[in-house]
């Protein structure tokens, strides 16, 4: 299996096309505090790996509301990742702690819905630590190869992917 740019085996590497096991192109929505990375930090990864990444930059991670996370899944995401500053370094004192609690709440809600809370995750990333952020996305892609597509992806969307494949 091809290696991702940080050396992790990645099932979605271009040329390998899509995950052979589940045959779908993963879609990840990333909410990140603007104090961590610039929006284009994942350009190289997107060129190398066949997946969709929607990056939503926030002035502070605490602005991630429950509904934003759920709507990311509604719009077809297979996983949602939230990147927050390390604890004790939030410019707004406790924004990252609020985000962490909110993400935990929505993870429970996803379990209740039956979508699997594992599809949502939060990580503390230091300012400008691009390598750690890229590794997180690679790990998420790796997790998605086991989890498969979100069960809430619309039938129409799945059919469109299948048609394209044919």
């Amino acid at each position: 299996m091809a290696k991702g740019i940080t050396g992790i085996a990645n099932p979605y590497t271009k040329g390998n096309c899509r995950n052979m096991k589940t045959n779908f192109k993963p879609r990840i929505t990333l909410f990140q505090c603007c104090n961590i990375l610039s929006k284009d930090a994942f350009c190289k990864l997107e060129k190398k790996i066949d997946f969709d990444l929607d990056v939503v930059e926030l002035p502070c991670s605490s602005l991630v509301k429950d509904v934003f996370l759920l709507r990311a899944f509604e719009s077809g995401s297979d996983a949602v990742v939230v990147l927050v500053c390390p604890e004790g370094t939030c410019r707004y004192v406790e924004g990252n702690i609020r985000a962490k609690k909110r993400v935990q709440w929505v993870k429970n809600l996803l379990d209740e819905i039956g979508l699997d809370g594992k599809r949502l995750s939060l990580f503390n990333v230091a300012h400008s630590d691009k390598e750690a952020a890229v590794k997180i996305i690679e790990n998420t892609l790796s997790d998605l190869s086991d989890l498969g597509p979100s069960p809430a992806r619309s039938v129409r969307e799945t059919e469109a992917v299948e048609e394209k494949k044919v």
């Binding site: 509301k65 429950d66 509904v67 759920l70 709507r71 899944f73 509604e74 809600l109 209740e112 819905i113 039956g114 979508l115 069960p151 809430a152 619309s154 039938v155």
Partner: protein
């Protein structure tokens, strides 16, 4: 304010399952403050329901609306068009709000999305505590403004039970002993003598034990 807690998603899904066009109606006053039925909770619940039904291969069209108060006609009127254009309403108001909507729209099923729990206050961010049971005969002046009915686990009116430890209730160590609070406050106010007067057993007819209550203000009725 009235404090409520949202029902579990599984229970709500079961309640709304028969309907294809659903209005989720929020209430922007009490239940908004306790994060149970305001605009944000309407949006989150709608999204969760859509995801849940989509996962099960079912379709549901959800309309979202939050009005200032579901217990007053002035605001209910704002929702009339939305209520009439849907199969059913899931109200995120307290029990009074749910019934106020149901009374005014006789042909539309109106269902509760919350469990109405108590009359309370926001003690600190994220913590709501019960302070009043609405007994209809307030005696707070006698007890230094700490209600032994709402806040003492045993509802004792003539002094503490003797089971509290370090100011905590023996029924629940996380709850302050109401009688400790009463005595401390009366001491601070120099009104400890209040406790010398025997308090008669409470007449509960002024509470809901006396049947549904009404408040009539003739001066406001035309």
């Amino acid at each position: 304010m009235i404090v409520g807690n949202q029902k579990s998603l599984a229970e709500i899904k079961e309640i709304v399952a028969p309907y294809k066009n659903l209005l989720i109606l929020g209430c922007g006053t009490c239940v908004k403050t306790c994060f149970a039925g305001g605009e944000d909770e309407v949006a989150t619940l709608s999204s969760a329901l859509r995801l849940g039904f989509k996962k099960d291969g079912k379709e549901i069209l959800i309309q979202e609306l939050t009005i200032e108060r579901q217990c007053e006609d002035e605001f209910i009127q704002e929702a009339a068009e939305n209520i009439n254009s849907n199969d059913a309403v899931l109200s995120l108001a307290c029990g009074a709000g749910v019934q106020a909507i149901a009374k005014r729209f006789k042909s539309v099923p109106v269902m509760p999305g919350l469990n109405t729990t108590f009359i309370g206050i926001l003690e600190k961010q994220g913590l709501f505590t019960e302070e009043c049971v609405g007994c209809g005969d307030c005696r707070l002046a006698q007890f230094g403004s700490v209600c032994p009915i709402a806040r003492c686990s045993k509802k004792l009116l003539n002094g503490p039970c003797g089971g509290s430890k370090n100011g905590s209730c023996e029924v629940d160590a996380e709850t302050d002993c109401a009688w400790q609070l009463i005595i401390d406050r009366l001491k601070a106010l120099g009104q400890l003598n209040n406790l010398k007067a025997y308090v008669q057993p409470k007449d509960w007819r002024s509470s809901n034990a006396g049947g549904p209550r009404k408040l009539v203000r003739e001066d406001h009725i035309i």
